[in-house]
């Protein structure tokens, strides 16, 4: 092999190595930065919060135009509906925490609304504040979504979309 040809070969090999590194790293960074939602079987227990060991189970997911509280019936705006998610959880010793998004099959994500979003109070707590042996480890998360999205709901998943990791985002699906 001539000297010139050997030099070209070295250049080609180096270029290919650089390309492979760039593609590999790019793919890895993309996989880390893109939430990868995986539905658990209906009613199954999973730990959706990234880096926080609190098993949860979606008991029910109810779509309704009217949210009943101790004070009044809150009707959703024209073209919108309420989604009431009842979730059981096993709080860790330091106490529970949950901030779950409602996920649609097309990737849209809604955050739960706090109790200022409607008039009155509901029976179940709206935050995962129970500790082991203290309080009810059942929470009700309430969402307001366009009614056209009501047929496309996938379940509840972690809201920490800035979290970087390649583990799946476990998506809780309702029992039954």
């Amino acid at each position: 092999m001539s000297e010139r040809r050997r030099q070209w070969l070295a250049v080609a090999v180096t270029g290919l190595l650089v390309l492979a590194m760039v593609v590999g790293w790019g793919g890895y960074l993309r996989a880390r930065a893109t939430p990868h939602y995986v539905q658990v079987p209906p009613g199954a227990v999973a730990t959706p919060e990234q880096g926080y060991d609190m098993p949860m189970r979606l008991v029910s997911l109810t779509v309704t135009p009217a949210l009943v509280t101790n004070r009044e019936v809150n009707y959703a705006q024209a073209g919108a509906v309420w989604v009431i998610a009842v979730v059981d959880y096993t709080p860790p010793p330091e106490g529970g925490f949950c901030r779950l998004h409602l996920i649609a099959t097309d990737g849209r994500a809604w955050s739960s609304i706090d109790s200022l979003g409607y008039e009155g109070e509901r029976v179940l707590p709206t935050s995962c504040s129970a500790k082991p042996g203290e309080g009810t480890p059942r929470v009700e998360l309430i969402y307001l979504i366009p009614e056209t999205a009501a047929t496309q709901l996938a379940g509840l998943a972690s809201s920490a979309t800035a979290y970087r990791g390649t583990e799946p985002f476990w998506t809780l699906t309702p029992a039954g």
């Binding site: 705006q77 073209g79 849209r108 809604w110 955050s111 307001l144 979504i145 366009p146 999205a149 800035a162």
Partner: protein, 185 residues
């Protein structure tokens, strides 16, 4: 060949490293600023924003509650934010610029959830001299380092407009709304 182009390669690598370092430390501008005018819809990450109009006065009511009276002027800018993307962005920064000065808003803007829009007012308190050429800026920041979109909406107020508005409305009451969410039709 390597001997011939070696020093060019080193120079190129040094340049790339410098650009990378500048970007990493935030010394480079990391905002993609675009201009818009009143009534023009502009896109940020998952939402669009449109400025509908503005008004001035010295007394401010917010959702029918008295907020205050000022010795300068309140500028209320009415905007509609619509989230047609997949996830509400949580890090919006709204501000104002005029005569090389920057202004903060009294209350932050409410960004609606996917599929919803909200028409609401943002309020600035400023000297009448800063009304002409006032620009409202909307910056949407990604949760991690990114080249973020910013929209600069020039309210199109000339010195003459400002003088006329000041003469006509300086003692007016500005009534603002934080709005309610509506489904995007």
């Amino acid at each position: 060949m390597i001997r011939r182009f070696g020093h060019w390669l080193v120079a190129l690598l040094a340049c790339a490293a410098m650009i990378g370092l500048h970007a990493y430390t935030g010394e480079f501008g990391h905002v993609d600023a675009r201009r818009a005018t009143i009534g023009q819809t502009a896109r940020l990450y998952a939402s669009t924003v449109v400025v509908n109009g503005w008004s001035i006065g010295q007394v401010l009511y917010s959702d029918d509650a008295f907020v205050g009276r000022t010795g300068v002027i309140y500028l209320a800018v009415n905007v509609t934010v619509a989230t047609d993307g997949s996830e509400r962005s949580t890090s919006w920064k709204v501000g104002g610029e005029s005569n090389g000065r920057t202004f903060a808003v009294d209350d932050s803007l409410f960004v609606p959830e996917p599929g919803f829009q909200r028409r609401q007012d943002v309020v600035f308190e400023l000297s009448p001299d800063d009304l002409a050429g006032f620009t409202v800026t909307f910056l949407d920041q990604a949760p991690i380092y990114a080249y973020d979109p910013q929209v600069n909406v020039d309210l199109g107020i000339t010195a003459q407009d400002a003088a006329q508005a000041f003469d006509r409305s300086r003692y007016d009451t500005v009534r603002t709304t934080s709005g309610t969410v509506e489904v995007i039709r």
